[in-house]
Symmetry: C2
Subunit: 371 residues, 2 copies
Amino acid sequence: MREAELDALVVSDPANMNYLTGYDGWSFYVHQAVIVTHDRDEPVWVGREMDANGARATTWLAEESIRSYSDDHVQSPYDLHPMDFFAEILEELDAEDARIGLEMDAYYFTAKSYTRLQKNLPDAELDDATLLVNWVRVIKSKQELELMRQAARISENAMQAGLDAVGEGVPEYEVAAEIYDSLIRGTDEFGGDYPSIVPLMPSGDHTGTPHLTWTDRPFERGDPVIIELSGCRNRYHSPLARTTFVGDPPKEMRHRAEIVVEGLEAALDHVEPGVTAESVERAWRDVIEKYDIVKEDRIGYSMGLGYPPDWGEHTASLRPGDETVLEENMTFHTIPGLWFDDFGVELSETFRVTSNGAEVLAEFPRELFTA
Amino acid sequence: MREAELDALVVSDPANMNYLTGYDGWSFYVHQAVIVTHDRDEPVWVGREMDANGARATTWLAEESIRSYSDDHVQSPYDLHPMDFFAEILEELDAEDARIGLEMDAYYFTAKSYTRLQKNLPDAELDDATLLVNWVRVIKSKQELELMRQAARISENAMQAGLDAVGEGVPEYEVAAEIYDSLIRGTDEFGGDYPSIVPLMPSGDHTGTPHLTWTDRPFERGDPVIIELSGCRNRYHSPLARTTFVGDPPKEMRHRAEIVVEGLEAALDHVEPGVTAESVERAWRDVIEKYDIVKEDRIGYSMGLGYPPDWGEHTASLRPGDETVLEENMTFHTIPGLWFDDFGVELSETFRVTSNGAEVLAEFPRELFTA
């Protein structure tokens, strides 16, 4: 905040709210945020009255740091908006004529939230502080890594459950049900939290369409099926993707899967503190270019703590042009894939940058599976 | 749009995008929208390149109506934003100096999206069109109602699975896993889609904290447990809430549950075309006031089609001051509850306004359950 010359910061990204205060609840469908100022020892949580008890239950904040607006502000038929209340709190915090940082491109900070704050605080200077907290989150603490390793255990179980369930004639939703059951049941030692993205399982003609969700369609002999999922533990994720095939995969598909594994492993081998994010992608691309394949999407991103609709942090990406220098305890999901007109193959790993390489969080065979 | 004097409309709420074009995919974590103009027969879908195949697979749009931006616009380290591409499309549609409606308070239309469009289209007049499409969605078609009835079948199964699973010593996540499995497995005839809100199950001291999600805590004898969930079918919901008690409920709790049922049924009995939304809430409040209970939250809202984080439409609410006149085939989730310092009781129903009353979508006993 000092570097960005901000007097106050309004943090509305639920993952950032959690990171700063511990706040956790499915309440991001109404306007809420925590406000950070220099002269207070702790942030102020501001949300809906009904959720103030949730703030008391999940944060370490003192009672005077939990402030809530009445229900008539929610989806209001009156001329009331939660940001009217936020403006009052900012005035109380002597920020009415301050430089206030806003997460301008965060999911739940709407255009209306911005124009309403502008109107209510005409003397304030509203600045874009998108990703300011996200960049702090890039390097994980020991406790965060422990939660991500627990999430990886859940991912392994759920991936096995998904691969076991896929079969000729089995409807896609049944596989999704098995995966979900496993994601939430977790392990023998601990349960799972809801993932920020639902299990994705593009299959058949749709393996080149990564974000479709399951349907009633039964899997057919000859279907490639990509499963991408993540276990979640106290909102920390460890995503994992594998590809399976219903029946005996064509030789060409086995070959492409081998290329993806080779490229993925080249990328992982390249990881160590001091190398750039773009050079990790380059290591992958060097492999596929040997096979005359051209693909220019990013192959990974920094991630960890998250709420729907995304577990990504929106900070460093493994792609050309991203010169972020890797440091110990950064964590990435690397998800290279090859998509062709007929089918796609995808395998992913979540890894931590160690002092001299990469720790892959999940232990799961890297191969094309068959069902 | 004509009434609002809009030349163009940028629709970024995923539920509204689905309503207008059929588009369905877990891609709302990147900027996307459909653009409606008067002189085109169909909207233009605009999204990420990787998701254009999803638009081809799920919408009825012609190829020239599917436009996509390259991946370097996504969480870009360059000075690129998806709204730069949107501005180009709006120029192509001759809307660069038009009156353009924006969903200013929709979840995924960020403050940055707005300021970036402003910068790119200095001659356009950007207007607030929040809820314009949502209000069109208020009255459901026969096909929409059929999907909501299917969702209700799923809700019944999932509620039964949840109530069966709650018990002394059972960790909360196990109950959540049973509910999720049932929500996705659906019925013998069809599968379930992911609900827009995860199953909520505040228990023990937290029954007054409605939006906390499950933990590893085992249920204890003496815990009240509220289960709120919704089956989902092709993105249409039919939410349902019930309360159970681990052990033998205190007499006072049974009594409060009876009051909630009486009030809920009074509200349902009051429903018919021509009455106002606020009068339905009044019917509930008349009942609880007989018992000297004062509670002023809204007790329901119009709903149906939805994506995370909400299945509500943000249009009509059952609360004081909402003078929306009920019409046939409107659908509401009414969720009255009584919370006290020690515990809360909640029972809900999803209903359709019929020609002369209310059709409750789920068939599930209205009582306090025990586990």
